[in-house]
Amino acid sequence: MKPPPFEYHSPSTVEEACALLGSLEDAKVLAGGQSLVPLLNFRLARPSHLVDINRIPGLDAIYERDGGVAVQALARQAGVEDSELVARVCPLLTAAVRLVAHRVIRNRGTVCGSLAHADPASELPAVLLALGGHVIARSARGDRVIEAGTFFRGVFETALEPDELLVEAWFPASPGPFAILEESRRHGDFALAGVVRAADRLALFGVAPTPVLADPADPARGLRPSGDLEATPEFRLHLVRTLTDRAFAA
């Protein structure tokens, strides 16, 4: 067996899932599995319990709400990519989701899972931040709305409590000029650095522990990106400046 031992739970309602998350020690939600299962296979994650939400019916809607689009926990990235509603109301999200991995991964991966995972190089958290969207977290204690600006706390770290299920993400409409530009080594890879423009707002990803808002006139100010085998900090700063120029030239 590749994954470490865990106890498997497959609730059939959101209430049941929240009850499990509230009562179990060290439980993890399993959504699309496109980030969690690799971590299990490499034994980088060793949760005692997996709460698989895939058998909860009616949790995969993509619908119009408050002038934006709401994406529920089990809506796959491929479904969002193909959604006419998303293309009409929030074309920035359509453009962004196409940059996430590959279609085969997007067939399973969820938008909410990507937000909950909070990889600093991920596109969708930066889109949520640039648009000023929010997520809804549910637990046995009730629902709570968490604004994008306070949701992302650090590398793979969010404001979600261990007993909370992210049930829905809300992306405001993107009617004005928008762009998402990134540089990666290979098509479909995580970005070395990327920028999201929503009208006159700018969010950056891949250059800090979380996505960050920046000033379009001086996007690299105050940034101290890390360096690795793929890119030096200087190169990442260069990418931020160049991609911002391009995003605002359009």
Binding site: K2, F42, G79, E81, N107, R108, R186
Partner: protein, 165 residues
């Protein structure tokens, strides 16, 4: 779970990956395993008609669902599936390690785009790695598969195809 049309008993150990279940428990070794973290694509199978990475699913998650592997594309002795035929004609393989994954991804791609543009072909195969061919012949094979698919109705083209899930 149904695999290539046949019902198989459930896998009880939740730690069993779908890829390992297919290979070790069901003996369907056509599904290959390379990286086990979603990068190489050689474990790609169809899950309710849409291509997914079998190394990133637990076997228990496939309970009550339909899985198709490369073995299910053509029965022994019958003509090859159009995508297999195209890979054969266009030399879309050398060592063959990546081939089952490419074939299943392309079956999914053609369900989504029966007449793919060059860009859609490149996008569609970008999630699969091949160490041998240099991809040019694979690109040609996809083009050819699209032509062949329109001539030969495929047995796998029915209900539930191309739904992005």
């Amino acid at each position: 779970m149904k695999v290539n049309g046949f019902v198989h008993p459930a896998q009880r150990d939740p730690r069993r990956l779908l890829s390992d279940h297919l290979r070790h428990d069901l003996g369907l070794t056509g599904t290959h395993v390379g990286c086990e973290h979603g990068v190489c694509g050689c474990c790609t199978v169809l899950f309710d008609g849409a291509p997914v990475r079998s190394c990133l699913m637990l076997a228990v998650q496939a309970e009550g669902h339909e899985v198709s592997t490369v073995e299910g594309l053509a029965v022994l002795g019958a003509p090859l599936h159009p995508v297999q035929q195209a890979f054969h004609e266009c030399h879309g393989l050398q060592c063959g390690f990546c081939t089952p994954g490419f074939v299943m991804s392309v079956v999914g791609l053609l369900a989504q785009h029966p007449n793919p543009t060059r860009e859609q072909i490149e996008e569609g195969i970008s999630g699969n790695l091949c160490r041998c061919t240099g991809y040019a012949s694979i690109r040609r094979a996809v083009q050819r598969a699209s032509e062949l698919s329109q001539q030969t109705p495929s047995p796998l083209r029915g209900e539930g195809w191309g739904k992005g899930r």
